[in-house]
């Protein structure tokens, strides 16, 4: 249990940045007025998070790159439809999630996984050391194995359950934000989350004590 408390402490709540709506609205207004450079700013601001969501849904970095780019292009083409009722990032997340789910539907049979490498950060942080010390294999091998197991477990879920778990656990979004992105009720989000967690728990039981 102490292992996981330590892990939790390595991820502070400040890592989940809450974007400022007004700043995004100002950029959106500039894009609408024809300032393409303002869109570049939005891309730089959200590309990592958008890529992360799509990558964790697809488990393929090449596909994730293409899908994230397509999502930005779609957002650019339909930016006049953005009414500002929700935050810009929930709007663009919705586009990315829909694009990713459509992609998975079309390419149901073509499934190749290409994993992103863990950052150097993991070598220096407590998390890697603690988890690796529990295993018999050496640390890089263990981390690689864990990475593969996590992706395998995520891929065993349906796209909708996977999306909910990625948005909640990896991206740190709230139930309400996920409900807006997935156009469903908060109750549905909670139910999907519970089901997905139960499934993952059984798949990853070797790592959970």
């Amino acid at each position: 249990m102490s292992v996981f408390k330590s892990i939790a402490s390595t991820f502070t709540s400040s890592e989940v940045i809450v974007p400022e709506r007004s700043e995004d609205f100002a950029l959106v207004e500039r894009v609408r007025a024809g300032d393409v450079a303002a869109f570049d700013q939005l891309v730089v601001k959200y590309r990592e998070r958008l890529f992360s969501v799509v990558y964790n849904i697809t488990s393929n970095k090449e596909d994730a790159s293409d899908i994230a780019q397509d999502a930005f292009i779609r957002a650019f083409r339909s930016i006049h439809r953005f009414k500002g009722n929700s935050a810009f990032y929930t709007w663009i997340y919705r586009i990315a999630v829909n694009t990713a789910i459509n992609f998975l539907r079309k390419n149901r049979l073509r499934r190749f996984f290409s994993l992103e490498t863990l950052t150097e950060e993991v070598s220096h942080n407590e998390l890697g050391n603690i988890l690796a010390s529990k295993m018999t294999s050496d640390k890089p091998t263990f981390l690689k194995e864990l990475q593969e197991k996590l992706n395998e477990a995520l891929q065993s879920l349906s796209p909708k359950h996977r999306t909910v778990i990625v948005l909640f656990e990896v991206e740190g979004l709230s139930h309400q934000e996920i409900a807006v992105i997935m156009k469903c009720s908060e109750g549905t989000v909670r139910s999907r989350l519970h089901y997905a967690k139960s499934e993952l728990q059984s798949k990853l039981k070797d790592y959970i004590h």
Partner: protein, 151 residues
């Protein structure tokens, strides 16, 4: 939910947060930006078909409520004007010269109808009836002239 399963869910949450450490390199982002720019450029220069472009322009034009309302008003006025001036044949007075001629044609045998249609210059008799009965009235100078010469 039992305390044990809640604890396991918490452990799972912490495990899944490892996914946050999977981050691409700066080189990847440079390539990503470059590819995105190329795609956006291609999108910008891609030619739209004439019909698609026209449809988009029309939709954009009529999105303005003032324009759509005024256009609707013009249509209503035009239709009213058209109805008042170009009255259909069956409403024309009995003593109208061309109306009598058309009535005679309509009542005549089919071979004669075709002959008249040929002289008037329309391809089939159905075209002719459509013209005479629904669209144009005998008061149209062109048709009156054609009738005078044909019949």
């Amino acid at each position: 939910m039992s305390l044990k399963s809640q604890d396991q869910f918490d452990q799972l949450s912490n495990l899944l947060r490892i996914k946050r450490l999977e981050k691409p390199s700066q080189e990847f982002w440079n390539r990503f930006d470059e590819e995105l720019k190329q795609k956006m450029f291609r999108m910008a220069i891609r030619k739209e078909s004439i019909f698609k472009h026209a449809a988009r322009e029309i939709v954009a034009f009529f999105k303005n409520p003032a324009i759509s309302l005024s256009t609707a008003a013009v249509f209503v006025l035009s239709f009213s004007f058209y109805s008042a001036v170009f009255t259909p044949l069956h409403c024309v007075a009995q003593d109208d010269f061309a109306s009598d001629k058309i009535r005679k044609i309509l009542e005549s045998p089919s071979t004669q109808k075709e002959l008249i249609c040929q002289k008037v210059g329309v391809s089939t008799s159905s075209d002719f009836f459509l013209m005479s009965g629904m669209v144009l009235s005998p008061s149209s100078p062109t048709i009156s002239f054609q009738f005078n010469t044909a019949y």
